[in-house]
């Protein structure tokens, strides 16, 4: 028995750890460092119909315990991804999740349809939470109805399970989670970045050319834990948890809050071996804590607390 195994719709994962979208490209760079087969899954960079140039640089800025990014969904476009990136990933026996984005609902539909037909694509992550583009992105993720309609549209054409990636920049994340669940989402990914900003006091100007950016890293972990915990109480579909995972305990924390698998983003930049290292550390830590199998702890805090409420 594999104690690290977790199973989510479309995703049979030998361990719960995947790199987070946008922090791992399409895998080719990190493949130079380690065997990607060690990963539980791979979530690739957002794909849009057309190639995107993204935002002007500087695109990243450091903040206390975190970082801001405003990449702006730069990607080579659907055709290129279909022709090059996804075929390249065929050499790996790891579930592939494709993060998709667009300006119009129609764009999402087209990308979802095409991508979900690719044989090595296991699931789609519907990005309705990118804070760094003017159109699309977060605009779809802040209202339950809009989010639900987009989910329906994509579900109608997708051959694979659809995970909706939620934005934390909302008053009521539970309402949005419920709406997309009802609209047929197979799972949720949460959280995307918090909208933030840094100003360089020497110039009085924003550090990022895009002015604002998405806050990620250790700093946002408590927000991720809270949101996953809240959503877990009200929604039945599984959650891929992310936001500030740097240590093996962070994985357990997000899973206890309700995540069935986790994604690691910013930590890859600080330690390029972050994902395989965390995976390697899991079992020893489970032994210390008396955790038999990882699937036992999914949402454990929620169930314990609901008994003592």
């Amino acid at each position: 028995m594999n104690r690290l195994q977790v199973n989510l719709p479309g995703l049979s994962m030998k361990n719960p750890v995947m790199p987070a979208s946008g922090c791992f490209g399409f895998g080719q760079e990190y493949a130079k460092l380690y065997d990607l087969n060690r990963l539980g899954a791979i979530c690739v960079k957002a794909v849009t119909i057309e190639e995107r140039r993204g935002n002007p640089t500087p695109r990243v800025a450091e903040t206390p315990g975190g970082m801001l990014n405003a990449i702006g969904l730069q990607n080579p476009g659907l055709q290129h991804v279909l022709a090059h990136e996804l075929p390249w990933l065929e050499q790996y026996d790891v579930p592939i999740i494709v993060n998709i984005a667009g300006n119009e609902p129609e764009d999402y539909r087209e990308v979802a349809k095409a991508v979900s037909q690719v044989k090595n694509v296991s699931a789609i992550e519907l990005n309705i939470s990118c804070p760094n583009v003017k159109e699309g992105g977060i605009a779809f993720g802040t209202h339950p109805d809009t989010a639900a309609r987009l989910t329906e549209l994509v579900k109608a054409v997708s051959q694979v399970p659809v995970y909706v990636k939620l934005s934390p920049n909302v008053t009521d994340i539970v309402a949005i989670a419920k709406a997309v669940e009802q609209a047929g989402a197979d799972g949720l990914s949460m959280i995307n970045t918090l909208l933030g900003m840094r100003i360089d006091v020497k110039s009085s100007l924003p550090v990022l050319a895009n002015r604002t950016g998405g806050l990620s890293g250790a700093a946002i972990k408590p927000v991720a834990v809270r949101m996953i915990y809240e959503v877990r109480q009200h929604v039945d579909i599984p959650i891929i948890g992310m936001g500030g995972i740097f240590e093996v305990d962070d994985i357990l924390e997000l899973m206890m809050a309700g995540a069935s698998a986790v994604a690691v983003g910013t930590a890859n930049f600080i330690d390029p071996f972050a994902c395989p290292k965390l995976i390697d550390q899991l079992e020893a830590r489970m032994d210390e804590l008396g955790i038999a199998t990882l699937s036992d702890i999914i949402g454990r805090s929620v169930s314990i607390c609901s008994q003592t409420r």
């Binding site: 946008g22 922090c23 791992f24 490209g25 080719q28 760079e29 990190y30 130079k32 460092l33 960079k45 190639e51 140039r53 993204g54 640089t57 500087p58 695109r59 990243v60 800025a61 450091e62 903040t63 206390p64 315990g65 975190g66 970082m67 990014n69 990449i71 730069q74 080579p76 290129h80 890293g217 250790a218 700093a219 740097f246 910013t266 890859n268 930049f269 600080i270 330690d271 390029p272 071996f273």
Partner: protein
């Protein structure tokens, strides 16, 4: 590309706010190409969060030693100055594509033009060029006399011109003033690293092909996050790509290849 806890051998302030850090570790043996850089984690943990890109300034393969020269700019480099011999510094590298030394043949002449902390990577380049019997001419620009560093080291390798903005040492003015005075056939190739305006001026003034090294704020350092892109002047005819990643396609580019 290796991640290693290197050990501080020595740390020394060689000019105001300019530090030379010597690190020892196995990965020094991998650092073969000048212009490549390492991504330095100043401190374990999250303070500061990101790694800092610093150019390879010199490598002593036998003694497993890597030399970096850096200027104190903000939190990270400030913290780096507190490292003492014996302390560990986590290094990820070597990263990126460096200066090609092999494009020059024996007895050809290279001119190296460096400004401020653009100078360090040129030193390792100069050493390799001299090893290949290429003539090396160097133009180093500083703000003022007190800021000058590595003069002696470069002079040992070839003719070295110093410029200072205030004229307190060498020629008064910018490196480009000295560069423009070189006659047409004085050099076969130029290599340059420094602040953007300097690179632009050098590219404009150059009478030969050359290579430039760029800087940008970075996330991953290996081409995965797309933090550090710059535009190609002409889209790549093969891939159709319109951009390059400074961390993995660069930081060194052929002059004219990308927009500065």
């Amino acid at each position: 590309m290796i991640v290693e806890n290197m050990q501080v051998v020595a740390q020394e302030e060689i000019a105001p706010s300019i530090f030379r850090l010597r690190l020892s570790g196995d990965c020094a043996g991998e650092m073969k190409i000048p212009g490549q850089f390492v991504h330095v984690q100043v401190e374990q943990g999250i303070n500061p969060t990101l790694r800092r890109p610093l150019s390879i300034c010199d490598v002593d393969v036998e003694n497993r030693e890597l030399t970096l020269i850096y200027r104190v700019e903000g939190k990270g480099t400030k913290r780096l100055t507190e490292k003492r011999p014996g302390d560990a510094v986590n290094v990820f590298g070597p990263l990126g594509k460096g200066f090609p030394a092999e494009v020059l043949k024996e007895k050809q002449t290279a001119v190296l033009i460096g400004g401020g902390v653009g100078i360090p990577p040129l030193y390792y380049l100069a050493k390799q060029l001299v090893n290949r019997d290429v003539n090396v001419m160097t133009i180093l620009g500083f703000r003022t006399a007190a800021d000058v560093f590595l003069e002696k080291e470069f002079t040992a390798l070839g003719e070295t011109v110093i410029t200072t903005e205030d004229g307190t040492k060498g020629l008064k003015g910018y490196v480009t003033d000295a560069f423009r005075q070189l006659p047409e056939n004085a050099y076969d190739l130029f290599y340059t690293c420094g602040p953007k305006p300097m690179l632009q001026a050098v590219e404009t003034a150059a009478l030969s092909p050359g290579y430039i090294s760029l800087e940008e704020r970075m996330g991953c350092g290996i081409g995965a996050c797309l933090a550090c892109v710059c535009d190609l002047t002409v889209p790549d005819s093969q891939s159709g790509k319109k951009y390059r990643k400074i961390c993995s396609d660069g930081p060194v580019f052929r002059a004219g290849e990308v927009m500065i």
